[in-house]
Assembly symmetry: C2
Homo-oligomer: 305 residues x 2
């Protein structure tokens, strides 16, 4: 079923306590493409500058992704650089150059109007609304956001995005900021009260929780022995989640739970290498194996007291 | 099957951002008794002073617990007071008066020597060793510890306790301190290398993880809407875990997983009230219901890619 992502494509410079990489492929749409190419080819709306390497374009297009909506404009591509601390969780941003991303206006090609599964990565909420207005009949909209937009200037647009979302994907800090509730159950309920059908709260190495009318589902984080680069974990989670839904064209509660596991699997794979490198050679069998490992991680037989 | 706990009985004064209680029943052995009374009556080795209220003695004895090993000596009972911060996780200790606990030497009544399931709550490692020397043929020893004992003066005794434990129960911070490894998989492996059969790492609101030869099992934390008093969560976890093992007399890997869930359930129940109050009226059916809720929380059907 047709899948669409709107987000960023960037050149990242990433430093960890162990290694350093310069100008590697990054951005939410890039991670989304890398994962979706494996599960359910995606349409892409994003912007790059005229300095964007052709090899990255090929990577974005792999697996049958449709790049008609990838705008290539004069100027430099969005650049971000950051450094991860010893715990490989906290990071400091060293530099952000929005460049061509600063004036990005998502324009959907006419052929994208019939998209059914939509991932609105973290961009200005008013632009997320613009995207939704260009789609005829979305079946499942998932929206991401960030603390920058949970402010007076943007909160009304953000609330309208949430009200039009089947899935809101936030991390625990954003959930608390958005709701004003410290308790995550309360926070999720208050976000659902804004009109979302369900909320996913990403909790880093504590996993991700899905709150919906069926109750709560907890997907653990995969206990990795070595994290190489945490960048893109959240976007790879969203990509696995949405691409699995699109692949199966099933938004039932039971399938949402499976999609949470696929997303957790792709999120855990993403951090095993820099950039989108882990997905360059990943096979469906290997992804299936990781999903199976998640099942092993939480499985227990009935308890009779 | 015979179950034994060695630990502390205290009078706690607890302050949360919402409420305050003075001199309520606390201590690892008290929480253990409250939980075990429901699942598998326990033998108790602990000490109280001559000021210890008779009503608390009755509570410790409830459910058929055997208090022959409860020493009642001249002096004041161990007292602890602390204050929880806004997040209901971090706390500051306001006062600790060891009193009669300072000179506590665990003396097992002869009738306890045939105990099979042993929980060594957090006390001086050399005393934990003394306890083990008084037991004929333990089947399953679970030991808890804390940062105080992970120091030069005590580490050798602690390592001997670990080598004689079928289960080491620590929190994430203790696991890292004990192993010198930040990664929890590495940390657990290094503790197992000291001679423990398996390690449980308690991670607060991220749940608890069991590391053994079968791999890793992750029991989530129950998403509570309201925590009344976090005190005793860890001891109630250990109590549910050990009392379930003793009740079923089964230390197979599959039963360890079920015990992790029962422990997570009793841990989650403990924090819904001050002191051991939640267990005063709790029924087996209600505990079963909570275990069932854990199953709902993590259940997903097979994923075919």
């Amino acid at each position: 079923m047709s899948l669409l992502v709107v987000g960023s494509v960037a050149l990242d410079s990433v430093e960890t306590p162990f290694e350093k990489r310069e100008e590697i492929l990054g951005g939410s749409a890039s991670f989304f493409c890398a994962v979706a190419g494996l599960l359910s080819p995606t349409r892409v709306v994003a912007v790059v500058g005229d300095d964007f390497p052709e090899e990255h374009v090929e990577l974005l297009a792999s697996g049958g992704n449709d790049l008609e909506g990838l705008q290539r404009v004069q100027g430099r591509t969005f650049r971000w650089s950051g450094r991860y601390l010893e715990n490989m969780v906290d990071r400091e941003t060293l530099d952000t150059q929005l460049n061509v991303f600063e004036t990005f206006r998502p324009q959907l090609p006419a052929s994208y109007a019939d998209s059914r599964y939509i991932f609105l990565a973290n961009i200005l909420p008013s632009l997320q609304l613009d995207v939704l207005d260009q789609i005829d009949a979305p079946k499942c909209v998932a929206s991401d956001t960030m603390n920058f937009w949970i402010t007076d200037a943007h909160i009304e647009a953000l609330k309208r995005v949430i009200a039009r979302s089947q899935v809101v994907i936030v991390n625990d800090e954003e959930a608390r900021l958005l709701s004003g509730e410290h308790n995550l159950v309360d926070a999720a309920e208050s976000i659902i009260a804004l009109g979302a059908d369900r909320v996913i709260v990403k909790r880093g190495d504590a996993g991700a929780m899905l709150f919906d009318q069926e109750g709560i589902f907890w997907a653990p984080a995969f206990p990795l022995r070595r994290v190489v680069d945490p960048t893109g974990a959240g976007d790879s989670f969203a990509a696995g989640f949405m691409a699995y839904l699109a692949r199966t064209d099933d938004i039932s509660p039971a399938n949402m739970r499976r999609a949470m596991i696929v997303g957790s699997a792709t999120g855990s794979l993403a951090v095993e290498a820099f950039s989108v490198d882990r997905f360059r050679t990943l096979t469906l069998d290997q992804l299936q194996e990781r999903c199976q490992a998640f099942a092993q991680l939480t499985r227990f037989s009935p308890i009779a007291l």
